[in-house]
């Protein structure tokens, strides 16, 4: 048996150990890597940053911890962005009963982070609303597009002063009569719930998305057609957003040339307060390691196959 034959039959547990060792090592070494953010990420960032302070944004959060490697980074970035821009938001899920609780945990953590940094802490009923889970995405999105006040009628929220009030009497929704009054809808998802939202609401409110690497390619046709204003895709999208939050677009520091340039827009500021590099920065190095391993695995597997075949042919002759 030649070396290449042995390589072809390598125990898969050895591959698993290599993966665990390399990927885990990468997690402990966060490195700020210079990137060229994807155009879809730049569009996402520019769209959020263009929303006037105090406006209301809809956040449909349809992810759970099964995809937290990507989706949690997306959601944390979104919260940091909205809070730094002083935007109000309403969050709900139309895809998974567990999703609202996962989102609540993240908001609590981001609020604790802001408190530690001496920044304003977002309060439920005043700065954001938690509407929980809606059991049927198709009907929920259709109803929201038809008549938002009817779709969310009779729902109440706690307010900082104590007690509960109708959500349409809170600061978040008091000026919202129809879905078009919200400046943007962001769908954070790892599933096809983004498709349903686009099909039912794209002509009523500007939609942006933060999706996993697997879901991303399915949303790109909607981005190309302009039905989605911007998308952050996968872990690269998480890091892109953090990089844009830290550097802005076409913003130069003194004599340095801008770290992110884009011909489509004049300039978009970096975020004024709070953390920028976070989970994306922590995981991005690991993504490099994992991809290198994957590419090496494909190359080695194929080289092994060719060499093994050649050896067999030579043996036959």
């Amino acid at each position: 048996m030649t070396f290449w034959d042995k390589m072809q039959k390598v125990d898969r547990r050895i591959l698993y150990v290599i993966l665990v060792v390399f990927v885990c090592t990468g997690l402990f070494i966060p490195v700020k890597i210079p990137v060229e953010p994807d155009p879809s990420s730049k569009d996402f960032y520019a769209t959020v940053m263009a929303i006037p302070e105090g406006s209301t944004v809809l956040v449909q959060t349809d992810w759970t911890n099964s995809t937290r490697g990507e989706s949690m980074g997306h959601f944390e970035n979104l919260m940091r962005l909205l809070m730094s821009q002083k935007l109000k938001f309403v969050f709900y899920s139309a895809a998974d009963p567990v999703a609202p609780q996962v989102a609540r945990t993240v908001i609590t953590r981001i609020n604790a982070e802001r408190k530690a940094e001496g920044l304003y802490v977002y309060q439920v009923g005043k700065d954001y609303l938690d509407l929980g889970y809606f059991a049927n995405a198709e009907a929920t999105n259709t109803n929201m597009g038809t008549d938002l006040r009817q779709a969310w009628a009779n729902r109440t929220s706690k307010v900082p002063e104590g007690g509960e009030v109708d959500i349409f009497k809170t600061d978040v929704l008091k000026d919202i009569r129809k879905i078009g009054d919200c400046k943007m809808m962001v769908v954070v998802t790892a599933s096809a719930s983004i498709d349903i939202a686009i099909q039912r609401l794209a002509n009523k409110v500007p939609i942006t998305a933060m999706v996993t690497g697997v879901t991303g390619p399915g949303v790109l046709p909607f981005y190309q057609s302009g039905q989605v204003k911007g998308i952050a895709i996968g872990l690269k999208g998480v890091y892109d957003t953090e990089y844009l939050m830290a550097n802005g677009i076409n913003i130069s520091n003194g004599d340095e040339r801008p770290k992110v340039t884009w011909a489509k827009t004049s300039s978009v500021d970096k975020v004024a307060e709070g953390k920028t590099f976070a989970r994306g920065n922590q995981y991005y190095g690991t993504l490099h390691v994992a991809l290198v391993l994957l590419i090496l695995a494909v190359i080695l597997g194929n080289v092994g196959m060719f060499m093994s075949r050649r050896a067999t042919r030579k043996g036959g002759e």
Binding site: Q101, D147, K236
Partner: protein, 308 residues
């Protein structure tokens, strides 16, 4: 003025909506009695007629959505705030108003299905434990975890909802037994196991990349080359270094053509010229099929499910 019209429109009662203080309780009671009577009547329907009841309700449930698209309405009509001027517009407004209650009924039905699922799950596993069937120990674990999670989750929700007007329980320092128990079970165990399950895919992907991704044909070679460019583009460090090299080459040679060989440019081209049109073509076919299937289901032409 606009605000006044809006408020008037919001407070206007319609066929689908009764406001509090206007006999709402009577309508609720009538609705409840009607529902009970209907359910009882359905149980008495002969089995050969049941199919038609399902077909009829499916048709009625889909009708407002179809009519809302097809029924003519004035250009730029604001169906929430405008007042209908004639019978045709009145019908259009009523159809539009029907979408909300129909949607809410489907939401309730979907939530009801969750309940049916839980009932079925518990019944199956209780039976397994009672009969001590194969792996009944796992069923016991499931039932104990189910009962614990439900109890702890419900008690936590109850305390947060009804006994915490000022949101003190949002601060972990104010937590009691049920908040800690819920946090341990939901965040500490369930969520972590969920992540662990999903992360196992990485091992299968690596194993498959090494053992199964073989270049045996031209198509496989093209696919691998495309995948390689897209994967390399995900690596910011490499893209940046490669791009800087290409930019220097362009400066040295004065030939901007080389810019086409930047990794992100090649990846963008692959995505926008190859990947997106292909996905769009597949989506087009899928949605045509979905439309045909939707029509068959709505019109009761689909035999499976309804008749079986």
């Amino acid at each position: 003025m606009n605000n006044t019209i809006f408020l008037l429109a919001q407070n206007t009662e319609n066929f689908w909506r009764k406001l509090p203080g206007q006999g709402l309780v009577i309508w609720v009671v009538i609705g409840l009695l009607l529902g009970i009577a209907l359910l009882f009547a359905f149980t008495q329907v002969p089995s050969n007629l049941r199919r038609w009841i399902i077909v009829g309700f499916t048709f009625l449930a889909g009708l407002p959505y179809v009519l809302a698209y097809l029924w003519p309405k004035p250009i730029g009509a604001d169906l929430q705030n405008d007042v209908p001027r004639n019978l045709s517009e009145q019908i259009g407004f009523t159809i539009n108003q029907a979408i909300d209650p129909v949607g809410k009924i489907t939401n309730v039905l979907q939530a009801f299905l969750l309940g049916v699922g839980i009932f079925s799950l518990v019944r199956v596993h209780i039976t397994k434990v009672r009969r001590k069937s194969e792996n009944w120990g796992f069923s016991t674990v499931l039932l104990v975890c189910f009962a614990l999670m439900t109890t702890v989750g419900f008690m936590d929700w109850r305390q947060r909802k009804f006994m915490d007007d000022n949101g003190l329980l949002n601060e972990p320092s104010n937590w009691g037994f049920f908040q800690y128990a819920n946090d341990l079970m939901f965040e500490g165990m369930y969520q972590q196991m969920d992540s662990a399950m999903f992360s196992m895919i990485a091992f299968f992907i690596l194993s498959a990349a090494y053992r199964a991704f073989r270049i045996r044909s031209v198509e496989a070679t093209v696919m691998m080359a495309s995948a390689l460019i897209l994967m390399l583009n995900l690596m910011g460090a490499l893209t940046y270094a490669w791009g800087t090299g290409i930019e220097s080459l362009v400066v040295q040679t004065g030939n901007p053509f080389f810019m086409n060989f930047k990794l992100n440019v090649m990846a963008d081209w692959l995505r926008s010229t190859m990947q997106i049109p292909a996905i769009r073509a597949i989506d087009f076919g899928v949605f045509l099929g979905a439309l045909a299937m939707g029509l068959r289901l709505w019109l009761g032409l689909e035999k499976g499910g309804v008749s079986s």
